[in-house]
């Protein structure tokens, strides 16, 4: 080698004389925080997301355990106790005898605590004066329906005083038109909704993530064909799938589950593919390939863990729309069949008597809203926690 000009150009000494990099002493470092610990810390600081997470956990617990605390089942009918609102006015007839005046012109005897006992038999009815006469332990009372609001009066026509307002014992949210317990039915609806959420999530993870991952990883023609299939699937409306599957299967709910399970992963597949396409040009993936790491290991050890944040956020955000799809299909009569209850069927059943008994719509509608809010807020919180840079 010709090193003659070494003394007036660069010598290796110049490189040695550079300042020394300061090294971390491993002892002095704060405990190592993994990415997920960091995410957890940020998520815990997000109050709406934490409240939502608590709501979702409560909902799951209530759906799983709740019905067993009630003495009623979701399908028990008690026609004489139909359409009982969650709060009832009790009248004291004699000490020890209490009645509730039902809006469809019946008297129901209750205990002092509000437990429903039985319908009181009518003595006679004056159809002309629109009055019903009752005799309870010798005390005569009159149900006057000649003008609204209907009144319960004594023999002189003086209205009775409300003795107390209370809940109908055992029926926390009242009953529906067939006398079934709405509380248990709403919890049962929560089971259906959560099952739908679970199916949607499973489809997203088991099919969407893998499908998108393989398409992104393979690239080229394979990717092209796989994504065209996704395009075709996603242009056909989900409702149509459900109807088509219902032709073969009798059960509407099973059709919804199968439809969701087989096509609800396409959005996830698209998102994962995009992530993988971007990630696979990153140098750590190139490094893995120069090492000779197998394709599957590259996918599961490098690409998917680095996409996990986006995957989780997407899955969370896709849950509420799956729940809504099921509720909607059940509402229009394509979903679960009686006596099963979903929030959608509860809503549609309540519509028959929406004027008289609006409370029947309120509960399932509120349940749908709260659940969708909770999943959306949690998804937002997760996105902020996973990538603080994305926060607007």
């Amino acid at each position: 080698m010709t090193d003659t000009i070494n003394n007036n150009t660069f010598s290796s000494d110049d490189w040695d004389n550079g300042p020394k990099e300061e090294f971390l002493k491993s002892e002095n470092l704060a405990p190592s925080m993994t990415y997920w610990q960091d995410v957890g810390r940020r998520l815990r600081g997000n109050i709406p997301a934490m409240v939502s997470a608590a709501v979702i956990i409560l909902l799951i617990l209530a759906a799983v355990l709740g019905p067993s605390f009630s003495s009623h089942s979701y399908e028990d009918q008690e026609l004489s106790f139909a359409n009982i609102p969650p709060i009832i006015n009790l009248y004291q007839i004699t000490p020890g005898r209490y009645v509730y005046m039902h809006r469809n012109l019946r008297l129901i005897e209750t205990t002092s605590g509000g437990d429903l006992i039985e319908t009181v038999g009518m003595e006679k009815e004056d159809l002309f004066k629109k009055k019903m006469f009752y005799d309870i332990d010798g005390t005569r009372i009159i149900l006057d329906y000649s003008q609204r609001p209907f009144k319960l009066t004594d023999v002189d026509g003086k209205p009775l005083e409300t003795w107390k307002k209370t809940g109908p014992g055992g029926y926390l949210l009242g009953t529906d038109a067939l006398g079934r317990d709405l509380f248990v039915r709403t919890l049962y609806g929560a089971r259906i909704s959560l099952l739908v959420a679970l199916i949607a999530t499973l489809a997203n993870f088991l099919i969407g993530v893998i499908y998108g991952g393989i398409a992104g990883l393979a690239g080229g023609r394979t990717d092209n064909i796989m994504m065209r299939i996704v395009d075709i699937i996603s242009t056909i409306p989900l409702t149509l799938y459900v109807i088509l599957i219902m032709v073969v299967l009798d059960s509407g709910f099973l059709s919804i589950i199968i439809a969701l399970g087989s096509v609800y992963w396409v959005n996830m597949a698209r998102i994962v593919r995009g992530q993988i396409l971007a990630l696979k040009e990153q140098e750590f993936v190139l490094a893995a390939r120069t090492i000779g790491t197998s394709t599957m290991r590259v996918l599961f050890q490098h690409l998917l863990p680095n996409s996990m944040g986006v995957i989780i956020v997407t899955a969370t955000m896709l849950i509420p729309s799956a729940i809504f799809i099921e509720s909607f299909l059940s509402f229009i009569g394509l979903g679960v069949s009686a006596p099963m209850a979903s929030w959608g069927t509860l809503c549609s059943e309540s519509l028959d008597s929406i004027r008289t008994f609006p409370y029947q719509l309120f509960t399932p509608a509120l349940a749908i809203c709260i659940t969708m809010f909770a999943f959306n807020f949690l998804g937002d919180g997760l996105r902020d926690a996973l990538d603080p840079k994305l926060r607007k």
Binding site: F10, G18, I291, Q301
Partner: protein, 317 residues
């Protein structure tokens, strides 16, 4: 490796890599040939976009070459399938430019360095652990860093982790694709020195890609100057540095800051920008920017001529 045993470890011949794009064919690497002796370093320099990284990535078979041969340690790699290539993969490794994207942020340093070990060796748990600790110490870190995540390290330290990963498979040949250009100037020297020490210690052979000519001159025995996918001058680096023959090399050296003010370089001005690789000029590809362009330059493509020191320029035929 003894110095007199100058056998050739890597021989690249007529390598071509074209990328089909919508607008046409990008001739990123267009007939590149060189060889590197065992234990030596070839420096590859050239402007951004001239195809240095593509050359490197084609040699290590991240890309499939369109033609040409890549002979590593007597084995022809250019035509092997990825599967047949596997046993040869551990002989060549790569150190990347960007220490931030070259390490997987979801893996601990231990797992990162373990990847080549687990793919290429059958070490038991204990031996693996010792090997990882050894490697960490070799690159100036310590065993306590093994359980940490890349984001806890500085750029220079991350590059050291990347170097430890490249060494983990016990390679003969390492491609360094601008390994220091993303680093702080004060740290560059340490990393270069470390690479030199490792070369000495393990008898490594380097293909060293860089922008900075003085640094290439410092680390490499041979130097190749690339322009638009082709090598225009190649030879002993100190000779090229002392007396560049190709007008492009002369211009590059002029553009390079000279650390010693006593050396006054004749500054040649390169006119205009580098032409698009989609539309390579006829004849000599440098003629559109060459201050010495002649009639023949647009008609005939100059070939590398000479023995030892080779130049592709009509001024030198």
């Amino acid at each position: 490796m003894s110095k007199n045993n100058k056998d050739c470890l890597l021989k690249v011949d007529g390598l071509k890599k074209y990328f089909p794009m919508n607008k046409g064919l990008v001739k990123a690497v267009d007939d590149v040939s060189f060889s590197i002796n065992r234990g030596e370093t070839l420096g590859l320099v050239g402007e951004s976009g001239c195809g240095k990284s593509t050359t490197a990535r084609t040699i290590i078979r991240l890309y499939n070459p369109d033609s040409g041969s890549i002979e590593l340690d007597g084995f022809e790699l250019a035509s092997l399938s990825q599967k047949r290539l596997m046993p040869h993969r551990k002989k060549m490794q790569m150190i990347f430019q960007d220490p931030y994207s070259s390490l997987n942020g979801r893996m601990t340093v231990r797992d990162i360095i373990n990847e080549p070990i687990s793919v290429h060796t059958k070490l038991n748990k204990n031996d693996t652990k010792n090997k990882i600790n050894d490697l960490l110490e070799r690159v100036g870190l310590n065993a306590g860093h093994a359980n940490r995540y890349p984001h806890e390290f500085s750029g220079g330290q991350r590059q050291r982790i990347g170097i430890a990963r490249a060494l983990a498979a016990n390679p003969d040949f390492i491609i360094c694709d601008e390994p220091i250009s993303a680093l702080d100037v004060s740290i560059q020297a340490q990393v270069v020195n470390m690479l030199e020490e490792l070369q000495e210690e393990f008898g490594l052979t380097y293909l060293f890609i860089a922008h900075d000519l003085s640094m290439v001159r410092h680390i490499s025995n041979q130097m190749g100057v690339m322009y638009l996918g082709r090598i225009v001058e190649i030879g002993e680096s100190s000779e090229i540095y002392r007396e560049p023959k190709h007008p492009y090399t002369q211009a590059l050296l002029g553009a390079n800051p000279v650390p010693d003010p006593r050396i006054v370089r004749q500054k040649l001005k390169i006119i205009g920008d580098i032409p698009s690789p989609l539309n390579i000029p006829s004849g000599c590809r440098f003629r559109t920017r060459c201050p010495h362009a002649m009639d023949i330059c647009s008609k005939e493509e100059p070939q590398l001529t000479g023995s030892g020191r080779q130049v592709a320029c009509h001024l030198h035929t």
